[in-house]
Amino acid sequence: MFGDLLPIILLSLYVSGAALIIAAIIGVPLGAGMALKPLPGQRLVDLIIYTGMGLPPVVVGLAVYLLLSRSGPIGFLNWLFTPSAMITAQVIIALPLVIGLTSSAVQAVDPALRLQVRALGATPAQVMRTVLWEAKAGVTAAIVAAFGGIISEVGAVMLVGGNIEGSTRVLTTAIVLETRQGNFGLALALGVVLLTFAFASNFVLLRLPGRRS
């Protein structure tokens, strides 16, 4: 049984891990940048991001499906029903969380500290790095929250991945499938694996240095 589960577990970690890394690489600097230097119309951007944080994953799945469909605008990528499509959807789900929570964490750093860092001769990039490091507990919370959101998400990956055995079947879609087939025991085992991931990521978060301050 474990032999069948292992590829599903690994694919779950691969898809959500890759999506998280991409979302973090894009979202952390964006969130920090928006906190450090608000754009004109920042309130509208905030509104969009906060809406995005509550975006129903299945709506993201639908949009990504239509984009990646062979008759869609970027169908030429040939990504539909592949892990790439699932990663794309999960990046979109994770990005608002990473941007919004990073931005909040960076805004919580005293603006006077930013001024001090500049006064000590920091370039804008160095200011961002320093402030992100000061806000690392909040930034990590953003990333962990995003990971929890995407690894446990089922609607989008089901739509754009297709739950193809050996190719796009991940923990959540496998749980749906096993439940549909009445295999509650197996479904429950998969659920425990999923819970373990959520537990492990939160454990990492709570053990992080600088958490107390």
Binding site: R70, S71, N78, F81, G162, N163, R180
Partner: protein, 348 residues
């Protein structure tokens, strides 16, 4: 004299089994009188033309035709496209199909042979018939294997699919709680059973997902002269797959319509449900209305140039070939004592 009549009748019968309608030449095309068992697709295939060509020649909008109707057949058009087909990914074939073929284990039992023979990876998207056809209608699958004839014909008529072939059939059964509050056990007619369930106001769980099973269920309600609404008179539309719907019925003591394959595969996990209408096996099903045919259709490469049409065509030939049809017949016999699917296609 009596002998002559008998011989004549026998000849007529023989002739009619070939289902050849009366054909008369007409400028540039022909006319055809619709026979029993005909569909626009079959007629189009017979005359090497397309469904849409017949529709436009006769001013038809849907796929409905009636026996005896005289159709104009336009001059033949090539049935298979000659446009250059450039598959987005020649190394995979995307099969959009129903949950029943995948969940029953049939596909896992036969597809590896095709994958090995053609050195190709088949990606199975197992959803309801409605969604499978919708995926095909966006060109996101290469071939579909579904079970809702009216939807399949529309799919072909809309130009989304070509080369439709019958593959296999099984049947639907009505299952319900052990105490059978509506008293339908042993009825030989599904629509009568539905009428009794409605009259008793007993709970009924509908797939409600536009799947092949859901399509069949709707047609049975229509035949019974009823139009149930979700939330009223015990009827609920779940919007779920077959497995979920059976599990729901098991928990809530509801009646439901199920394909026999999924019912057989799951019945051990459904202690509160029993088969009430449909007989002990496909062959013993007393109601022809519960017949459940599966068709295979290639997604139209003219409309969607990126589909893997060459492999889809090979797949259709393969799944209707004698050896695979035999495998379909054998599938499940050792486990359930009967076939879950019965082959219908003949080798060309």
């Amino acid at each position: 004299m009596k002998r002559t009549i008998l011989v004549f009748l026998a000849l007529a019968l023989l002739f009619s089994t070939f289902a050849i309608g009366s054909v008369a030449a007409q400028d540039g095309g022909t006319t055809y009188t619709v026979q029993a068992g005909d569909s626009l697709y079959r007629i189009a295939a017979k005359f090497n033309t397309t469904v849409s060509a017949i529709q436009s020649a006769n001013g038809l909008t849907g796929s409905a035709i009636r026996i005896g109707q005289v159709l104009k057949i336009p001059a033949s058009a090539p049935a298979t496209p000659t446009v250059p087909n450039t598959p987005a990914d020649p190394s995979t074939l995307i099969l959009a199909t129903t949950t029943s073929t995948a969940d029953s284990g049939l596909l896992a039992a036969i597809l590896p042979y095709f994958e090995a023979r053609e050195n190709i990876k088949i990606k199975v998207i197992a959803v309801g018939t409605g969604q499978a056809l919708a995926i095909g209608a966006k060109g996101d699958a290469d071939v579909v294997l579904v079970h809702a004839r009216s939807q399949e014909d529309k799919f072909v008529a809309d130009g989304n699919g070509i080369d439709r072939r019958d593959v296999m059939y099984n049947d639907f059964v009505i299952v319900g709680p052990l105490n059978d509050p509506a008293g339908i056990g042993g009825l030989s007619s599904a629509k009568d059973a539905f009428a009794k369930i409605a009259a008793a106001g007993s709970p009924f769980a509908s797939r409600g997902d536009n799947s092949g099973t859901n399509t069949k269920e709707t047609s049975l309600w229509t035949a019974a002269g009823l139009k149930p609404k979700s939330g009223a008179n015990g009827y609920v539309a779940l919007g779920q797959g077959m497995g979920e719907t059976l599990l729901y019925s098991n928990e809530t003591g509801s009646y439901t319509l199920a394909d026999r394959g999924t019912w057989l595969a799951l019945s051990a996990k459904l202690p509160n449900l029993t088969l009430l209408v449909g007989g002990a096996s496909v062959k013993k099903n007393p109601d022809p209305a519960l017949f459940n045919p599966y068709g295979v259709i290639a997604v139209n490469p003219v409309k969607f140039p990126k589909v893997n049409y060459p492999k889809a065509k090979l797949f259709i030939e393969w799944i209707t070939s004698l050896s695979i049809q035999r495998r379909i017949y054998e599938f499940g016999r050792s486990l359930y004592g009967e076939s879950l699917f019965y082959p219908v296609a003949k080798t060309p």
